[in-house]
């Protein structure tokens, strides 16, 4: 049971809405796919753009992700995880696969605001969620946040991180494990 599963929590409400869309998509409801797309495309496209750094690649990956959602919605099992986790994990994985297969390591580890892309204004509910998630990220030790962000957004493996950060492999693994534990406690299921 997600730790945030309490009435009135904007993440709970958003999760319920998205889960509803995915259920309807599983029943081949195209309007539901459109609704999920409308609610999430800024996150998915933004993620793809941040990882790939190229609008054309980001568009293709975004299309692939929602096509995969359409084709695999029936495999989503809400007892095994949230719709947000299902969608975001799928999206990140697709974008990182594309990045790795292109052989182009991003040299542009920079925020979306620097990618010359119009930043979308989030809906009020998502603004609250963003603040909550930002607070959880800020609660990480800076070295934990750095290691997690480089791995999550730019596909660095632990050994690449160790080389890049000039730290022993064991230190890098510990930073990631401890940071991920904190995120899990604050944003997800309890440890």
């Amino acid at each position: 049971m997600p730790a945030f599963n309490s009435a009135g929590d904007p993440r709970t409400e958003m999760e319920q809405t998205w889960t509803g869309y995915v259920r309807r998509i599983a029943a081949t409801d195209q309007a539901a796919l459109g609704a999920l797309y409308d609610a999430t495309n800024h996150l998915i496209y933004g993620m793809a753009l941040r990882i790939l750094g190229n609008p054309s690649d980001a568009e293709e990956v975004t299309l692939d992700i929602y096509t995969q959602v359409w084709r695999s919605a029936s495999t989503f099992d809400e007892r095994r995880g949230s719709a947000a986790a299902w969608l975001m994990t799928m999206a990140r994985s697709r974008a990182i696969d594309r990045l790795r297969s292109s052989g182009k390591r991003i040299e542009r580890e920079r925020p979306l605001e620097d990618l010359d892309a119009p930043v979308s204004a989030p809906a009020a509910a998502q603004l609250g969620i963003r603040r909550e998630v930002q607070a959880a990220m800020q609660a990480l030790a800076p070295e934990q946040r750095e290691a997690i962000e480089l791995a999550y957004w730019y596909g660095y493996s632990h050994s690449e991180l160790a080389a890049r950060l000039g730290q022993p492999l064991g230190t890098v693994k510990t930073r990631i494990r401890m940071g991920m534990m904190k995120l899990r406690t604050q944003l997800g299921t309890s440890a």
Partner: protein, 152 residues
């Protein structure tokens, strides 16, 4: 990797690295496969995913270009590929310079040239055939690691 019956700290570390995307690609794929048969690791990975999956919401989003929605709704009208066939790319425009596929697989690119512009092709369906026997065309793309072009 054998199925685990009991939780331990190594599982926790591996699952956290997996969800952060910090395992090397081959280990990432192995662990992903492992979670399909190991409930202990799957549950640990799921718990980390529930936290990490919110990370994208900490950043500013970027709205996708308006035409993408129509493109998506058109794409889902297309029939699913036959079983055993994986569509690795499709679209309109020039053929991609490179396509990522496994050396053990057979690739077939099916495209239709247009007269709109020289060198501009409508790429219909590039197929990867996990099983060459499933190939519905006779483009010469049969055999592991071989690519074939089918111009219609």
């Amino acid at each position: 990797m054998t199925e685990h019956h009991k939780f331990n700290n190594e599982i926790r570390e591996r699952a956290s690295l997996f969800v952060a995307g910090a395992l090397p690609p081959d280990e990432q794929a192995k662990f992903s496969q492992h979670t399909k048969s190991c409930g202990v690791c799957a549950e640990e990975a799921r718990a980390f995913e529930e936290g990490a999956s919110w990370m994208p919401l900490a950043s500013h989003g970027v709205a996708a270009p308006p035409h993408l929605r129509d493109k998506l709704l058109a794409r889902i009208q297309e029939p699913d590929p036959p079983p055993g066939i994986q569509v690795i790319a499709r679209g309109r425009g020039r053929l991609p310079e490179t396509l990522d596929f496994n050396r053990d697989q057979t690739v077939c690119l099916l495209y239709v040239p247009t007269t709109a512009r020289r060198g501009d092709h409508r790429l219909i369906i590039p197929f990867i055939f996990a099983d060459p026997a499933l190939s519905p065309c006779l483009c010469g793309g049969r055999g592991p690691g071989r690519a074939g072009m089918h111009a219609a």
